[in-house]
Amino acid sequence: MTDTEQLTKRLPNDIGGTSSDPIVWSDHEMAPWEKRCHALADVLDFHKIINTEEKRRGVESLGSEMVGKLTYYERWIVCFANLLYQKQILHPSDLARKMDEVAARFAEPAPSAES
């Protein structure tokens, strides 16, 4: 089989049965944003905005470089953004503006401890 034939048969995530490294036992405490990202995925599914199958395909369509270099929840949130653009629920400029707004909010001097 040629290299290109192999590419047509397997998307980047379709790795079942391929060779790989020994298992390394690994786990990590989820970062707060990762947990929020997971909860967002569930809420998007509950409201039938993005279901699990769309999420999987959305991650696949990030392409092998992003799939390889982004972490698990980084792939999820980028995939959600792409799917929301495709569904014309959000526009990339909306997200850019909102990310600037959220970043600016965090750059403000910290409010008093009680607030």
Binding site: N13, D14, I15, G16, G17, T18, S19, S20, D21, P22, I23, V24, W25, S26, D27, H28, M30, A31, P32, W33, K35, R36, C37, H38, A39, L40, D42, V43, L44, D45, F46, H47, I49, N51, T52, E53, R56, V59, L70, Y72, Y73, E74, I77, V78, F80, A81, L84, I89, L90, D94, L95, K98, M99, E101, V102, A103, R105, F106, A107
Partner: protein, 217 residues
């Protein structure tokens, strides 16, 4: 009001993560921004994210262990659990917050079951919580279906050659849970004592339950 800031209760998800330069990271910002935009558009309420975090935090392998221990104690329950995992778990008050179905796979003298999701990370989250990282990484996903005995050996689980190893590959809507074998010497155990023997890894199938008092393999 924002999705990031309006958490009024005090568990461990207060703000966007702070990175070394003092601000939240790029993907953290993106998550907060997507959430806020969808809330502003009225697609869901900010509180739903908080509530779902609470649901996620409430799911641990202790729930699966409870179902396993009950199945060991109560043959009628076991029959119902094997017939429909979701209905069986719901009977114990374990709610399913998603549309997934659950198939419970019973280990026997002749069959050892192992679960995997080769395409991504599908996992019986309502009964086990979130999967460990190794379950989501390439080595396990790639190799579990083609060389399960080698994978099991790397986890320290030796399955005799005359026991069939059966691997089940999860999907977006069908999830699996392994019902491990009840170890010898537990005849007098209470249900909660039994549940204490059942670990996450034994319900994924990468470990077997040692008889009480046996040295670790």
């Amino acid at each position: 009001m924002s999705a990031v800031h309006d958490h009024s209760h005090d568990h461990n998800h207060p703000h966007a993560e702070i990175t070394q330069d003092g601000g939240p990271g790029y993907y953290d910002l993106m998550t907060a921004a997507v959430t806020e935009l969808l809330v502003e558009r009225g697609l869901f309420e900010a509180g739903e994210i908080c509530r779902q975090i609470d649901v996620l935090d409430s799911r641990t392998p202790a729930l699966g262990a409870k179902a396993v221990a009950r199945a060991w104690m109560d043959p009628d329950f076991k029959r119902r659990l094997l017939a429909d995992g979701r209905v069986g778990c719901e009977e114990l008050g374990i709610s399913f917050y998603d549309d997934t179905q659950l198939i419970v796979l019973e280990n026997t003298e002749r069959v050892h079951n192992l679960i995997v999701c080769t395409l991504c990370s599908c996992y019986p989250r309502p009964v086990l919580g979130l999967p460990p990282d190794w379950y989501k990484l390439k080595p396990y996903r790639a190799r579990a279906i083609s060389e399960p005995r080698a994978v099991l050996a790397e986890f320290g689980a030796q399955i005799p050659d005359d026991v069939e190893v059966r691997v089940s590959d999860s999907t977006a809507i069908v999830r699996y849970l392994v019902l491990p074998r009840r170890p010898a010497g537990t005849e007098q155990f209470s249900e909660s004592e039994l549940a204490n023997l059942v670990t996450r890894d034994t319900m994924i199938g990468v470990a077997v339950i040692d008889p009480p008092g046996a040295p670790r393999q």
